[in-house]
């Protein structure tokens, strides 16, 4: 889809164009926000803040890459800013000493559908959830995550390990339910 006309309108502050851009990307961006939030209300706050940021910073979009990727970064950064602001990442511990108590019998990849997975991710503590999102879904390296979250690389690894343990525990308990 050619977004140039919509972007031109948005750059001029045209409300109609802004609505069009919102309609194009709101669902996808709310999906991103949901992954970084504990619940829908938090996600909706992020959606609001993210779109305001998109509209005000649209003139910095170079146009060299896909618009969606640029917007996704804006929303992820908005979520991270919120986490930093609320200081939810402070209770992190280093990777050393953490045992990855993974049960090999649990097959995460095949045993869960997306809705169930989302539910488990939402239930994670913010630190686990954030690192898990950034590493497993956004594809960032631990070094990059450390920079983004102002934590050490070891902390990022430990948070991811804990997130995986959390995930497996939840899956195990889910399937062990009568």
């Amino acid at each position: 889809m050619d977004y140039n006309k919509i972007l031109e309108g948005c750059l001029k502050g045209n409300l109609k164009a802004q609505r069009e851009l919102y309609d194009c990307f709101a669902s996808k961006m709310l999906g991103v926000c949901m992954r970084y939030s504990a619940n829908r209300e938090e996600a909706k706050d992020l959606l609001h803040d993210g779109f305001i940021k998109v509209f005000t910073k649209l003139d910095t979009f170079s146009g060299s890459g896909p618009l969606e990727a640029w917007m996704r970064r804006i929303f992820v950064n908005t979520a991270l800013e919120q986490l930093r602001k609320n200081d939810v990442l402070r209770d992190t511990v280093d990777y050393d000493g953490i045992t990855e108590n993974l049960d090999a019998s649990v097959d995460i990849e095949s045993d869960l559908n997306r809705a169930e997975l989302m539910e488990i991710i939402n239930s994670m503590p913010p630190g686990y959830r954030t690192v898990f999102n950034l590493y497993a879904i956004e594809g960032y390296a631990h070094q990059e995550i450390a920079t983004m979250l102002h934590i050490s690389e070891g902390t990022s690894k430990s948070q991811f390990a804990r997130a995986k343990v959390w995930l497996q525990t939840k899956i195990t308990s889910k399937y062990s339910e009568p």
């Binding site: 031109e8 750059l11 001029k12 502050g13 045209n14 409300l15 802004q18 609505r19 919102y22 709101a26 669902s27 996808k28 709310l30 999906g31 991103v32 949901m34 992954r35 829908r40 996600a43 909706k44 959606l47 609001h48 779109f51 305001i52 509209f55 005000t56 003139d59 910095t60 170079s62 146009g63 995460i108 990849e109 997306r114 997975l117 989302m118 590493y135 497993a136 879904i137 594809g139 995986k164």
Partner: protein, 500 residues
């Protein structure tokens, strides 16, 4: 382990790549509300800028007032200097004439007495009538130099004026400016802008009129001003006797036209006159014009007052003037408020520099090949501070560059006019003149043009805008490119802050 992590990543990325959650309708409403609030808030800086610009203009106006005051002081100093000068009598007479201009009404001519330390020190062998433009008082006039004077050089009575004017009316009925030609007199040199000299020398009058040099008149404005001094028509009749006889006030309105004096007249002790159109010379205003003319006069006496020159050689004396105006340079710091549909409004502060360079010289060349000349090169710089009010329409836009058409008005206040007059030939006794004047009045203009802007950082643009600009007639007295070429092509440049 690595493989396991990659597997997890692949799974998660696959699972959430196109993950979507439908927002609620109120989610957009909330965003829209925030956007609307931001639009309202963005007007605030624009208002602040506009207010700041207006305040700066007011400050400039105030500063202009202060400079006006200092200009007056400079002129006073010049007059006092002349008073103590023991140079030829003509020069003394001239200084007295200037003094008369400064002091306002002569006690003998009009009963409207505004006491002044100089009012009784009349060295003018004539009658001085100070008039004031519009409804200003004499004191105000003295401050802002809107003073005109009528004087005769020999006949110090009102009847002389009456006779001169009557004669002028009889002999030149077509001319709305009333001249006189009775007795042979040496016209007085008056170095002050807006000064009117009544002369009875027909030759001189003719030459002056041909050259737009001297205006000999009592004009409508004079009469109005007399009325403004609290005189009623009866008093005027009493004072001017036959001049106004049988006329009603409406008739008074028709007896003349505006005062104009745009020339330089110089006399030596032989009664010889150097004259020319002098337009360029006197287009400089205020104290600088006085200083320049005074220097020219003084040096003319020194240079030409010798036995080799006689009245027969009048035609062999020349005054040469030239003046070049450079295009105005305007730099603005503007703030631009984007509206819907590619329109925007803009205001700010603009700084303009006007520059001219010219020369004035007087030379002689007579039958026995006596030649000499002297003169000055004059550099003039005028500085203005103004506020534009602009509306723009952007017709093409890329990420960094915009093309637009633009139109608007601006109001400018002259801050200061600076002059430097350098002697051309280093004639002994001629020294450089450095002077400055206030620039009275406001300069209004209208403009339209095409502009290009380049966004160099967020919200900030450099702009260049070739425009056609029409400068309305200003009430300022300085001749500038604005007054000489009211419709000009100029380039407006600056930095613009855009609020979206």
């Amino acid at each position: 382990m690595k493989e396991e992590k990659d597997k997890l990543r692949d799974f998660m990325q696959g699972a959430f790549q196109d993950y979507e959650v439908a927002p609620d309708p109120e989610d957009w409403n909330r965003i829209e509300k925030t956007l609307f609030g931001r639009k309202r808030r963005r007007i605030l800086p624009f208002i602040i800028w506009a207010t700041a610009a207006c305040l700066l203009l007011l400050l400039a106006l105030y500063t202009g007032g202060i400079l006006n005051h200092s200009e007056n002081t400079i002129v006073h100093t010049a007059v006092n200097a002349h008073k103590t000068d023991k140079s030829p009598s003509l020069l003394n007479t001239n200084s007295a004439a200037k003094e008369a201009v400064q002091t306002g009404f002569d006690k003998k001519s009009l009963s409207t007495n505004h006491s002044s330390e100089k009012i009784n020190q009349s060295k003018v062998n004539g009658i001085t009538v100070a008039t004031v433009q519009e409804n200003k008082t004499v004191n105000e006039a003295k401050t802002i130099h809107h003073v005109a004077a009528i004087k005769t050089s020999q006949h110090a009575k009102l009847k002389s004026v009456e006779r001169l004017i009557r004669t002028a009316k009889a002999t030149e009925p077509i001319n709305t400016l009333l001249a006189a030609n009775q007795t042979k007199q040496t016209p007085q040199v008056d170095l002050k802008d807006k000064t009117v000299t009544v002369s009875s020398d027909q030759t001189l009058i003719s030459r002056a009129e041909n050259n737009n040099l001297l205006v000999h008149a009592i004009s409508q404005r004079n009469t109005d001003l007399l009325l403004n001094q609290g005189k009623n028509i009866a008093q005027l009749k009493q004072q001017f006797g036959g001049i106004l006889s049988g006329r009603d006030p409406s008739g008074v309105q028709n007896i003349g036209s505006d005062i104009r004096f745009t020339g330089l007249a110089l006399s030596n002790s032989s009664g010889m006159i150097i004259q020319s159109s002098g337009k360029e010379m006197m287009s400089y205003s205020g104290s600088f014009a006085s200083q320049l003319a005074s220097n020219m006069f003084t040096n003319s006496v020194k240079v030409f007052d010798n036995s080799l020159l006689s009245s027969l050689n009048i035609g062999d004396l020349f005054q040469n003037n030239s003046r070049n105006y450079f295009p105005p340079i305007t730099f603005g710091l503007n703030v631009n408020l984007a509206l819907e549909n590619n329109w925007s409004i803009e205001t700010g502060i603009q700084y303009t520099r006007l520059q001219s360079s010219g020369s004035i010289s007087i030379s002689s060349s007579n039958a026995i090949q006596f030649t000499t000349s002297f003169g000055y090169n004059v550099d003039e710089n005028l500085y203005y501070l103004g506020v534009p009010f602009i509306i723009n329409y952007t017709f093409s836009q890329t990420r960094k560059t915009s093309f637009y058409i633009s139109g608007g008005i601006s109001v400018e206040k002259g801050l200061i006019a600076k002059y430097k007059a350098t002697p051309v030939d280093n004639f002994p006794g001629m020294t450089p003149i450095y002077s400055h004047n206030a620039i009275p009045g406001l300069q209004y203009s209208m403009f339209g043009g095409i502009g290009i802007s380049y966004k160099f950082i967020r919200h900030f643009e450099l702009f260049g805008q070739p425009s056609m600009t029409y400068y309305l007639k200003s009430d300022g007295k300085n001749n500038t490119i604005y007054s000489v070429h009211p419709l000009i092509f100029n380039l407006r440049t600056g930095i613009r802050y855009t609020i979206k």
